[in-house]
């Protein structure tokens, strides 16, 4: 019996940060393993530097959001393999450690205080480990919500697909802002595919809701026609997906697109990724399991 949502802005920021880090790790590792050495040096490097930062900040917010932050260690002394939050806590700890070490190995040699023997081999190993770990973190941010039958808007596996695509797209956009222009075409090509896939997934999620159970219909109704309708359609769909997708397609087809417009597209993707989690978290808590099918 409560009117205020139990999970608010801090949780939204944390879910976005977790996704951004997961995406950065996945893109950096993919670039390293595909690039065979130095084809995508900037994506590998900057992706590695970006990866640990948001997730650690987001985890700090998550702990701060607890009713009793000083007892967060209780997450790590229990054995709760069916609790997504328990699994997620361990995933975040492991992922943070891997991304930190991975980023350290990308630092210029003169900045590294400790010499790591066979540093390049370790970097590749961490990339191989970090790729599935990053995917797991991105999936977990959606599964956390998705397992709850009580919240029909969240209670679909499609949410995991949506959040993974959005995490990768947000990370590609962030990397566009911090890498030299030479490597933008690769990021841009990836982002076009990701934005298209994310738009289709979102469409599928809405359609699924409309034509399945009354609870699911009510769930997507809260998102698409409730308090969050304007930020959803205008912010997430138009300004977060269609507009930046259009700009990137034009840029990829060798139209002369001003640099500022590409930068704007990247910022729009990031804002859209954040807003997606905002509306899903808030609208999801307004969705309730209805009586009857």
């Amino acid at each position: 019996m409560h009117d205020e949502p139990s999970w608010g802005l801090l949780i939204v920021i944390y879910l976005f940060c977790g996704g951004l880090s997961a995406g950065a790790m996945m893109l950096s590792a993919t670039a390293m393993l595909l690039g065979r050495g130095d084809r995508y040096t900037a994506i590998v490097r900057r992706g590695a530097f970006l990866a640990p930062l948001p997730v650690i900040a987001g985890t700090a917010l998550l702990v701060f959001d607890l009713g009793r932050p000083l007892l967060f260690w209780k997450l790590f002394v229990a054995l709760r393999p069916l609790s997504p939050m328990w699994i997620g806590s361990w995933l975040l700890a492991l992922f943070s450690a891997v991304t930190l070490f991975y980023a350290y190995l990308q630092l210029p040699a003169r900045w590294r205080r400790w010499r790591v023997p066979h540093g390049d081999a370790w970097a590749r190993r961490l990339a191989v480990a970090g790729l599935p770990l990053g995917l797991a973190v991105a999936v977990y941010t959606a599964v956390l919500l998705g397992v709850l039958v009580a919240r029909p808007l969240w209670n679909t596996p499609a949410l995991a697909v949506l959040f993974v695509l959005s995490a990768l797209s947000s990370a590609a956009a962030a990397l566009m802002l911090i890498t030299p222009a030479a490597e933008h075409p690769a990021l841009s090509r990836a982002d076009i595919v990701l934005i298209a896939a994310e738009t289709l997934t979102l469409g599928g999620l809405l359609f699924y809701g409309v034509v399945s159970s009354s609870s699911a219909r009510h769930g997507v109704g809260v998102l698409a026609a409730g308090d969050c309708a304007l930020p959803f359609w205008l912010g997430v769909v138009l300004l977060g997906l269609l507009v930046p997708g259009g700009i990137e397609v034009r840029a990829a087809r060798a139209h002369r697109v001003p640099r500022a417009l590409v930068t704007l597209a990247a910022w729009l993707v990031l804002a859209g990724g954040f807003l997606l989690r905002y509306v899903v978290v808030y609208a999801g808590q307004q969705s309730v399991l209805l009586r009857g099918l």
Binding site: M1, L66, S83, P84, M85, W86, L145, A150, V288, R291
Partner: protein, 178 residues
């Protein structure tokens, strides 16, 4: 022992005595409540009416709150009562999100979650839960569902106990008589 309850909605006057009794017995914080009385539309036009429906934690046998709790603070005791150990609760509020009945609340003062306990502290002394004892219309009947002779089991058997939101598949132990 499997503690449960049947609720005879037709007897309910919506007087609120169960709400007051629970708040007083369990020192529930201001602005919070462990039980409620809802008024719902019942039937279809033209045979339409209002159903007065008291509710609280359903003490589900398949409790999502217990499953998602990351520390094990939420648990089911030997009598099938869903309880929460405040020492282990870190206030993540995942259980609140997981409950299809919205039966849990967050207590800002303690930083932990709380809810109906079936008044286990009273049951231990063979007392009825406060809401059951207080009800002037005898809406609630409480007891051991494993005991076929107990009034709670007999009423559920004779008058077909339905649960709320069966589609949540949580197997509640509060049954609403038809």
């Amino acid at each position: 022992m499997r503690l449960g309850m049947v609720v005879d909605t037709q007897r309910c006057l919506h007087c609120g005595a169960c709400l007051v009794a629970c708040k007083a017995e369990n020192e529930v914080p201001t602005g919070r409540s462990r039980n409620w009385v809802a008024e719902r539309e019942a039937g279809t036009f033209p045979g339409i009416g209002v159903r007065i429906e008291p509710g609280q934690c359903m003490h589900c046998e398949n409790a999502p709150c217990v499953r998602v709790c990351p520390t094990g603070a939420s648990y089911v005791d030997a009598d099938g009562v869903v309880l929460l150990n405040p020492d282990d609760c870190i206030g993540c509020r995942y259980c609140i999100e997981s409950c299809p009945y919205d039966a849990r609340y967050f207590d800002e003062d303690s930083g932990t979650v709380d809810k109906c306990t079936f008044c286990v502290h009273r049951v231990a002394h063979r007392q009825q839960p406060a809401c059951v004892l207080t009800c002037p219309a005898k809406v609630r009947v409480f007891g051991d569902l494993d005991d076929a002779q107990a009034p709670v089991s007999r009423l559920a058997a004779e008058r077909g106990g339905a649960v709320l939101k069966p589609e949540a598949a949580t197997r509640p132990k509060i049954f609403y008589l038809s």
